[in-house]
């Protein structure tokens, strides 16, 4: 079967977990993994799994992109280098799926707006944040039934699953997520809260979504919409589970979710990281299907 060749930029935890998932894909063929450290465990692991690797960053990848027909790249590095990485791979005719908080392209939450992005042939899409991936589908499930005046999400992740980058700039999470709750979730006003919980054994990611609807909530229609949306997310994150709710209290609608990861490379409790890699892969697969059936032809951009 035909597959689309891809490169993974970033050989850390996210890149490696993404690689494990991509190796199972029917339409994605991981060819390259890019790092910056010759002694990187991630690169060694990728080589063992049959990938080509470079420790010279994106510059080490670029000369090989045409001959290896790399059409999609994932960036799992950092916001600071993303713009440069993006420019370089797009010059080689590859699209970019951005798992960093850089967000130079439009936000992508697969069950909510992935089809629109594929239709518009976006060359760079951003995967928002872990909390955004876990909660925005629920906000959207409510707002597609009736207007949401206010949407608030509380994401709780195990301390062990929050790396130094997240910690150093935690505002990036709250600000990006609350913005996407509005723009993609459809809430008129958005608010995001993140809690890092150090309990041992580590807690599985929890996400609570509170929506305030305009007017009395249509309980049956909202419940049906949420249940349908959960099934959509479960297609790529099987451990996306409704723990409680929806609770209706006046105009408040609250939904209590749990996100357990697949445990490919990252531990199962780190559902926050798993939902990012799974959403990234899901996005790539949908673009890949269009590339394979000829409806999407990628062209290099001029620098």
């Amino acid at each position: 079967m035909n597959k689309v060749n891809v490169a993974l930029i970033g050989s850390g935890n996210i890149g490696t977990d993404l690689l494990y998932k991509a190796l199972r894909s029917d339409v994605i063929n991981p060819v390259w993994m890019v790092g910056i450290d010759p002694d990187s465990e991630g690169l060694a692991r990728a080589r063992k799994l049959g990938l080509k690797t470079t420790h010279e960053g994106v510059d080490g990848l670029v000369p090989h992109m045409r001959e290896d027909n790399i059409q999609i790249c994932f960036d799992a590095t950092s916001a600071y280098v993303h713009a440069e990485n993006n420019r370089k791979v797009q010059e080689q005719g590859s699209m970019m799926i951005d798992l960093t908080p850089a967000a130079i392209g439009p936000y992508c939450v697969p069950p909510v707006n992935l089809k629109d992005h594929v239709g518009k042939k976006e060359m760079n899409v951003n995967m928002v944040t872990c909390g955004g991936q876990a909660t925005i589908p629920i906000v959207a499930a409510v707002s597609r039934v009736q207007p949401v005046e206010y949407g608030e999400i509380v994401a709780t992740v195990a301390s062990k699953s929050a790396g130094p980058g997240t910690r150093k700039n935690i505002d990036e999470f709250t600000q990006t997520t609350s913005g996407a709750v509005e723009r993609i979730g459809g809430a008129k006003k958005g608010k995001a809260i993140i809690i890092l919980n150090p309990a041992e054994p580590p807690l599985i990611m929890r996400d609570t979504v509170h929506c305030i609807t305009e007017g009395e909530p249509d309980q049956q229609a909202i419940t049906d919409s949420i249940m349908g949306m959960i099934k959509e997310v479960q297609k790529y994150v099987p451990g996306y589970t409704l723990k409680n709710g929806p609770v209706f209290d006046g105009r408040r609608v609250s939904v209590f979710m749990e996100v357990e990861g697949l445990g490919d490379f990252l531990p199962k409790f780190a559902g926050n990281l798993d939902i990012m890699t799974a959403a990234g892969l899901r996005t790539a697969e949908m673009f890949a299907e269009e590339i394979l059936n000829g409806t999407l032809v990628l062209e290099p951009t001029k620098a």
Partner: protein, 352 residues
Amino acid sequence: MSLKGKKVTLHDMSLRDGMHPKRHQISIEEMIKVASALDEAGVPMIEVTHGDGLGGASVNYGFPAHTDEEYLRAVRPVVKRAKLSALLLPGIGTVPELEMAADCGVDTIRVATHCTEADVSEQHIKKSVELGLDTVGFLMMSHKLDAQGLVEQARKMEGYGANCIYITDSAGYMLPEDVKERLSAVREALDDSVELGFHGHHNLAMGVANSVTAVEVGANRIDGSVAGAGAGAGNTPLEVFAAVCDRMGIETGVDLYKVMDVAEDIVYPMQDNPPRIDRDALTLGYAGVYSSFLLFAKRAEAKYNVSARAILVELGQRGMIGGQEDMIEDVALEMSRAASEAEAQVEPGDMA
């Protein structure tokens, strides 16, 4: 040990931690009245913010009667001698909110994290320092970490530039021995120029005793709250601690009778959920649970017919920390479902 002549700075919490028992519904008029009276009584530091800090306005923690900005702008002109402070919890509040507070004229920013997560405070502490503010690192739920662990976390905040570190007993769980061990280790580890503070809750009635112990081992900033107004069974009652300090010869600079009058004449009459050590507040202290959970658990008890005490104990067992108010309804729903399932199993029809 004689503490005669030791100087301690008291920091009043009634308009921030005291927002919890008021469900964040303190009016602007009340804020102005309390703040100006505290200022007049010589209380040197006054905190004004949503109970959960800047940006705390939310479904999860409660929407306040007014925004942080409205409160701060109203209070600033009437606080003439005291320093005005605002609290910020990274993950809830953000740098733009910190900048707003600075623009309102606060003198002090206190950046609060769970005791093991000091590294999420870096950007906020650095911003506060950059703005030239008195900057405090505030380690919450400190009973959940040992002295050595707290030393490491305190050093991180000191490294980001905080000029004062607080050990915070958010659950009102600590006993004087716990305070002594933790604060003396942190005092030892910090640079001499960095101040040390203690914030207590009165759930086991140890607020005053713990604060005295904190002073004994080198703390020089102590949080209290007039009339005890704060989460759980309240904070260390400020006027009581001031009286004890006076007896011990510790210098606080506050006018004891005036601060007693603020409590009696202004703050007690404002209270609609007066902090007291009822069985639920006692459970917070006994089980080591975040004090702000109290009223949420009581509301869940009323709504789902599950004991608030049982909810709080369960939250403690699950290792829930400050800010996880969403898990109170979650736990209550589970307990209520379990109870109805158990009931269904003993339906009379099944007994035949």
